[in-house]
């Protein structure tokens, strides 16, 4: 079944790069959304939830870590898989995010193979 995707990053360039990398990875989505920070993402998700969210951490307004916590309180995001995409790579940080409800973690810089490896198990 076709899936939907949201890319959350404060850099428009990075959103485009992530989109391109997702395409190169061979994963297919029938709908893709974008948001520039956690708050904008939550607003959009409440109107129109998606299956998978790729989410940056360091963003103005609302960070990715706050967004994960808030999303897990919302009914519309119960089934949504949230995968963090960030330059942050500390194990404590990653453990904390997973405990807060993130489903995966991809570090920047990344490759299409990495997206395929991390996202495929979440798409079934």
């Amino acid at each position: 079944m076709a899936k939907s995707l949201m890319i959350v990053d404060d850099s428009a360039t990075m959103r485009k790069i992530i989109m391109r990398t997702v395409r190169m990875s061979g994963l297919e989505f029938d709908r893709t959304e974008e948001a520039g920070n956690g708050k904008e993402a939550l607003d959009k998700l409440q109107g129109d939830p998606v299956d998978i969210v790729l989410c940056d951490i360091n963003m103005p307004e609302m960070s990715g870590s706050e967004m994960v916590k808030e999303a897990r309180k919302l009914d519309c995001c119960k089934e949504t898989k949230i995968v963090m995409v960030s330059t942050e790579s500390g194990q404590d940080m990653i453990d904390g995010l997973m405990a807060d409800g993130a489903n995966g973690y991809i570090t920047k810089p990344f490759t299409p193979e990495k997206f395929q490896e991390k996202l495929t198990p979440l798409m079934n």
Binding site: T13, S86, T87, E88, K108, P109
Partner: protein
């Protein structure tokens, strides 16, 4: 504490990783280069000399991407590139054709993200020693003959690299250990 030679390698390795995986460009540092420690005793810098053995000069309008960090180690990483090189980097990152038009905002955004990723990669490489580094959101400015400084007791690592054997990029890593 990491010595400057090690940090210089860290900066170049981090930059190389980002340029190879995300920008699809190879970074060259002359293999025969002997890092030469220059500058004052306190703020000594390490500079890779170019093949022609002349100092790196970024002519004309350039773009400076910078990102600060704090924790056990505090300071700033900057990436300085000429305008045309910055455009070339942005187009490669976005998978655009060389002659496609690109807005200046997109170029700034791309250079900011490069700073962010190189700093992230540096942080990953030194986090066994400096466990608590927090990184800011990157900022980008354009101008001519830009320099950065962080005041007293700051050490500086300068690593230069070339794209396509002509476009110069300079990475400056200014840092000091936080007073405990």
């Amino acid at each position: 504490m990491l010595d400057q030679l090690t940090l210089s390698d860290v900066v170049i390795d981090a930059a190389r990783e980002v340029f190879e995986t995300m920008i699809f460009m190879d970074i060259e540092t002359p293999s025969d280069a002997q890092p030469a420690v220059t500058g004052q005793a306190i703020t000594g810098s390490i500079h890779f000399k170019s093949k022609s053995d002349s100092d790196l000069v970024i002519d004309g309008k350039s773009m400076l991407g910078s990102i600060t960090f704090k924790g056990m180690l505090e300071g700033c990483l900057t990436i300085s590139v000429g305008q045309s090189c910055a455009e070339c980097i942005a187009k490669n990152m976005l998978g655009m054709e060389p002659d496609e038009p690109l807005a200046i905002n997109d170029v700034c955004d791309a250079i900011g993200e490069v700073s962010n990723m190189v700093m992230g990669s540096i942080k990953t490489r030194i986090q066994d020693i400096y466990t608590d580094i927090e990184v800011s959101i990157p900022s980008v400015v354009t101008g001519c003959e830009m320099h950065n400084s962080l005041g007293e007791n700051v050490s500086k690592v300068v690593a230069s690299a070339w794209l396509d054997e002509q476009e110069a990029i300079e990475f400056t890593f200014l840092y000091r250990e936080a007073a405990s």
